[in-house]
Symmetry: C2
Subunit: 229 residues, 2 copies
DNA sequence: AGATTGAATTGATAAAAGTCAACCATTGAA
DNA sequence: TTCAATGGTTGACTTTTATCAATTCAATCT
């Protein structure tokens, strides 16, 4: 067990955690491999575990009356869903893998217990949670303040910059997932790409080329209070 | 000073905080009365103070490219904006009073310092922050999963239930603010009220009467993972 | 009372986004 | 190699929401 748990010892969340506290946290924890499309948690269930992604990709989503909306995607090192764990309340979102994923699950009780005894861990938890909060606020601003085409433009620009402004790059998510993330239908994502041709983007299959970064930025108007990482 | 600061000693946030820690928190704090429409903080500024509302009402909002969106309204005992204070990062939202308000401002440094030394306070902070996080998630689900009329119906139903199902009640926010909160124009709020007449609601001025609670609930389909307080 | 102001409502119209259906391209299995 | 299956695209159309303009309404002040 310990070699596997070791995989997460170096996460920022545990950076300053004492060995003893880390032991307590991982004693009841287990690591599990999930296939694609596995539903990890379902909204409304009690939050028995804090989940941490070791590898793969997880979608958080929510449903009501037969409708479904994607809240976010998360990759390695991300936690979910911390707030439910802390408050010992039901999950507000469901989670599913969208590729083969390796997940560590730590019993919520242990998280809460260590939180009480280890100030450094407490601080990490708060920092993590505050980051999650700010992430949701940014996502919400993105949805409420921008049109669908503007969201697409900013998404592409963000990817482009994160990758170091390469000549061209590959979309890491399928288009229908990008559409879900950006709160629109796949059809409208397609139409958005078409509009953005005139603004300096060419999308061919999974490959994106930013032909006019300034032009795109002029249209997208990225903002650190919405788009910062 | 101490009599004024005393006003917040009993807040849940400080319920388990030691007197010493409370002293540290409030030493550099000050209480201030603001008139209606005072802008308390502006997004992008550094988070120098944690704000706590003693009385009155505060709107959190955000702008981009000349557009503006309301994120939430908060009344007595609410804090804002904790996440920025914790992370020592710029505010992602602006805040303004919408009525005469009494606000206590605690230097962010002090909050972070006490957080490190007082485990009980740390726990309160985390609980508060987790609650804020869940609040934003619910608001986001409300916006993304429901039509404007459904949001209105749920808003009315929630008010109705919170007040103990009275024969009729008064809207505590102006209609244009309700519209902003629910992410729609005042015009569409009006049209929504008209539609809801058929579902068992009558709105006359500021007064609301739920004539058919079951009928309204059948339409609104309230859900604890979106609408719970 | 009359005038003034801001909010709320209503109707006409426009824009944005979603739906539906058809079709295309790619992939992988029989 | 053909044939599903899937994801993506396109066009026509519908629905939802926003915008703009014109009133109406209500509260307040003089």
């Amino acid at each position: 067990m310990h070699s596997r748990i070791q995989e997460i010892r170096d996460l920022p969340l545990f950076a300053t955690t004492s060995d003893e506290a880390f032991q307590t946290l991982t004693r009841g924890a287990y690591v599990q491999n999930f296939p694609t499309h596995a539903e990890l948690i379902t909204e409304g269930e009690s939050a028995d575990f804090l989940h941490i992604i070791i590898s793969g990709c997880v979608e958080l989503f929510s449903a009501w009356q037969g409708r479904e909306t994607t809240m976010s995607f998360h990759g390695p090192d991300a936690t979910f869903i911390l707030a439910a764990t802390i408050k010992d309340r039901p999950y507000l979102m469901s989670a599913r893998t969208i590729e083969k994923s390796r997940i560590i699950m730590i019993p919520s009780e242990d998280v809460r217990a260590v939180f009480e005894t280890d100030p450094d861990f407490a601080k990490s938890i708060v920092t993590e949670l505050a980051g999650c909060y700010r992430g949701v606020i940014k996502a919400s601003k993105n949805i409420k303040l921008r049109s669908s085409t503007e969201r697409i433009a900013n998404y592409l620009l963000k990817s482009y910059n994160a990758l170091g402004k390469p000549k061209d790059f590959t979309l890491e998510l399928e288009k229908r997932r990008i559409a879900a993330l950006l709160g629109m239908t796949p059809e409208n994502l397609s139409r958005g790409f078409a509009v953005l041709k005139e603004k300096g983007v060419s999308v061919r299959g999974q490959t994106v080329r930013i032909t006019d970064p300034e032009g795109l930025a002029k249209f997208a108007k990225p903002n650190r209070l919405i788009d910062s990482w």
